[in-house]
């Protein structure tokens, strides 16, 4: 019995971490967030592709590494920890899983191999299946899509998109078609991409096995949620580390502020809240591949619980930094905002807990 990461997983995670430390420096993140260095984000994306990030979940027969979701989770954790300004969850986790479960043999051949060779990069828009806001939603008839998909992940560097209707049918569309309009949505978190996609008689290919079962889309959403939980886990750990370091150094009233119980207890609370999240996220990722009967509940609770813990940590870690925590100068807010975005996408905690309950009825 062994509960934890393998040497390979830790090694790969370290590589992603080191790469981000070198290339996604705070200065670079600021440039990307301010939009004044368009190529930096693409360079970082390419650098991580060189590490093999795209092929983790692609079966070996299609040129990938054929690893399990825990491997992807530790990468996501590292990306959260470094506020990695690069697409990951949509193109390299949700898309491969959706295609694996929903695609026909020829669709596997066509799409999975092209993800592993980097010819195709997918954005993913499944929000309307999870919870449709206002008048959003797409409809499929006569092989074309019409309507609007909101909150599409990683769409603007994508060659293709996976879009879903309310019934959970998944469609492949060409992101560069003239019948598609991709509108950038500006969120608080400028390290990630978020879009609205408007389809007008947009040619679409149905992933065949998604028309008679919602299982494929649920598999992809569960995996996406575990990735978001892992991302928040990494981001929270970074915020705690920074808060603890700051509290040891910053002096007021002639002593390090970390020697005051008011400050030290906030740090202890953050650590106590976060520590079990590691096990929850790893366990959820493991169940996704190896224990299907527990997988849904674990994925729901991982996303909802880590979102709640991370929200509290983001606030407390900022407060420990005092006024400096509030400034743009220190850049702590990049992690605060990343945690804020992770909390809402693919289902906010209340929506997900309702799903968690329904899996038990």
């Amino acid at each position: 019995m062994y509960f934890g990461l393998s040497e390979e997983q830790s090694f790969f995670q370290d590589n992603v971490r080191k790469y981000l430390e070198e290339h996604a420096t705070l200065d670079n993140i600021k440039h990307i967030a301010n939009g004044d260095e368009k190529n930096l984000s693409a360079e970082i994306h390419q650098g991580l592709l060189n590490l093999g990030m795209n092929g983790l979940l692609i079966p070996e027969e299609f040129g990938g590494l054929g690893l399990d979701l825990l491997f992807a989770a530790v990468v996501s954790e590292a990306l959260g920890g470094g506020a990695g300004p690069t697409p990951f969850i949509a193109p390299y986790v949700m898309a491969p899983i959706a295609i694996r479960h929903a695609g026909s043999v020829s669709q596997h051949e066509n799409y999975l191999s092209k993800i592993s060779t980097n010819e195709y990069c997918f954005g993913v828009g499944f929000s309307e299946f999870i919870g449709k806001r206002n008048d959003a939603g797409i409809t499929f008839s006569d092989n074309v899509l019409n309507g609007r998909a909101m909150f599409v992940l990683d769409a603007y560097d994508a060659t293709h998109l996976l879009l879903a209707d309310e019934k959970g049918q998944i469609f492949v569309v060409d992101a560069r078609s003239s019948n598609i309009e991709i509108v950038k949505l500006t969120t608080v978190d400028k390290t990630r991409q978020y879009s609205e996609v408007i389809c007008k008689n947009l040619e679409a290919e149905l992933l065949e096995n998604s028309s008679d079962s919602t299982d494929p889309i649920i598999q992809a959403i569960d995996a996406g949620r575990i990735m978001l939980a892992a991302d928040s886990l990494g981001a929270s750990q970074t915020m705690i580390d920074k808060a603890v370091d700051y509290a040891k150094e910053r002096k007021q009233f002639g002593r390090a502020i970390g020697s005051f119980q008011a400050v030290k207890h906030m740090c202890a609370e953050m650590a106590a809240d976060l520590e079990p999240c590691y096990a929850l996220v790893w366990h959820a990722a493991h169940c996704h591949d190896h224990s299907p009967e527990e997988a849904r509940l674990m994925a729901c609770h991982a996303k909802a619980h880590v979102s709640e813990m991370s929200k509290g940590i983001a606030k407390k870690a900022t407060e420990v930094h005092g006024g400096m925590g509030f400034t743009d100068l220190l850049g702590l807010h990049y992690w605060f905002k990343r945690i804020g975005l992770n909390r809402q996408i693919l289902g906010s905690p209340e929506l997900i807990r309702e799903e968690a309950y329904k899996t038990q009825v």
């Binding site: 509960f3 020697s259 609370e269 650590a271 309702e354 968690a356």
Partner: protein, 407 residues
């Protein structure tokens, strides 16, 4: 990640299951009221508590790694087997072994630091449930700051003469013995002046006064010592080493107060209750706010269960770093259990306030009782605030509070 125990353990699980079947419904000939053990069942075999302890030991289901010469099973410590035993016993209606501070704290302490004579004299009767112990640590003026304790021990001839008072002493009224921290070196610095003494509770000069707690049960006692004389050899470790002896086992207590599997059993019990109980004609579980609160807690407990697996794995695979992971257990486990019991009271509303033998009481009034009882556990054994100091200072390396002179 590999969560399988392996075939050897599957066989062991079956062996434990058939043992549990054989003794299902076991009841005790020496009464069902024992504060340290399960109350037993009905319809199964009958035996005394001591016979049951011996049966468990013979089969290797209790005191597994305690050497045979001291009354144990004499096997290798096997963490997975211990876990299987605990899980199978809790699933079946078979009473588990006795617990209590003698078994949980004194025995490991003696095994590590006791003399051969002490091991021979005390471990076997303690394991057999024939010698019950209480813990004499806290004093009215030495709570969180335990090392400031003032109960005095003077060596006069071949005897320690003890004077002072202990408080929060659970099970003192049932105990034959007390392991006690006593200041024997008044001129030494605070932590270096304490010794760990073993005191027979029938020694003249000991007075026990019950202390009723907020649950209205006398869970504790005050114990007064007036010229209590015990032999000089009743000391574990050397003079002035008592603080280190006590600390060797304090960590053991902190981990085991609120196991997440037990908390999950209560979550399941609450979910069941919420399907049965109605408000305005609708089951409580159909009320979205209550349902969401239940799901929030379920998520927290799942996180703690996964965390417990991680800690279990760290025990099996030495070298895994889970330092903070262990430190948070007492804090998070007791707080969560208290929160869960409190949620049950909230969903029941007025019914949740019923207590003792009131009409309309649900689940024997356990929700209110445990809600309050766990407040005691949050405070006892190092308060939540002390736990946070430990996590911050020893776990995160944060600076200590400057010392006040003379404290």
């Amino acid at each position: 990640m590999d969560l399988e125990y392996g075939p050897e353990y599957q066989d062991f699980t079956k062996e434990v299951q058939s043992f549990c079947e054989k003794y299902e419904g076991l009841s005790f000939t020496d009464g069902s009221n024992n504060p340290l053990g399960s109350s037993g069942g009905s319809g199964g075999p009958k035996m005394s508590r001591s016979e049951w302890q011996k049966t468990l030991i013979e089969n290797g289901y209790f005191a597994r790694s305690v050497p045979k010469e001291y009354g144990g099973y004499g096997g290798e410590a096997d963490i997975l087997k211990s876990r299987i035993i605990a899980a199978e016993f809790s699933k079946s209606n078979t009473p588990g072994p006795m617990g209590g501070q003698g078994i949980d704290m004194l025995v490991p302490t003696l095994l590590e630091m006791g003399t051969k004579e002490q091991k021979e004299a005390y471990i076997k009767p303690t394991l057999h449930g024939e010698m019950i112990w209480c813990q004499g640590y806290s004093e009215p003026n030495a709570g969180s700051d335990l090392a400031s304790l003032q109960t005095k021990g003077e060596l006069v001839g071949d005897e320690w003469v003890i004077n002072g008072q202990k408080i929060w002493t659970s099970t003192a009224q049932y105990s034959q013995m007390c392991f006690c921290l006593v200041r024997t070196e008044p001129d030494a610095p605070k932590h270096a002046g304490i010794s760990y003494l073993l005191i027979p509770m029938d020694t003249p000069g000991i007075e026990i006064r019950p202390l009723v707690d907020m649950t209205l049960k006398a869970g504790f006692n005050e114990v007064f010592f007036t010229d209590v004389k015990i032999p000089r050899d009743n000391i574990v470790g050397k003079r002035g080493e008592g603080w280190a002896v006590a600390n060797a086992t304090l960590g053991h207590e902190r981990g085991s107060l609120a196991p997440p599997d037990a908390t999950m059993n209560r979550v399941n019990m609450l979910m069941h209750l919420m399907k049965e109980e109605t408000l305005d004609g609708k089951p409580l579980i159909e009320h979205p706010i209550y349902r969401d609160r239940l799901m929030q807690i379920q998520g927290k407990v799942l996180a703690q269960q996964s965390h417990a697996l991680r800690l279990l794995s760290a025990k099996l695979n030495p070298g895994t770093d889970v330092k903070i992971g262990k430190m948070i257990q007492k804090l998070t486990g007791t707080e969560l259990r208290h929160e869960l019991e409190g949620l049950a009271i909230d969903v029941m509303g007025e019914i949740g306030t019923l207590y003792e033998d009131s009409p309309h009481l649900k689940n024997d009034g356990t929700w209110q009782f445990i809600y309050m009882y766990f407040l005691g556990l949050i405070i006892g054994g190092g308060t939540s605030q002390i736990q946070k100091n430990i996590i911050a200072e020893r776990g995160l390396g944060m600076p200590k509070e400057p010392k006040v002179e003379g404290a």
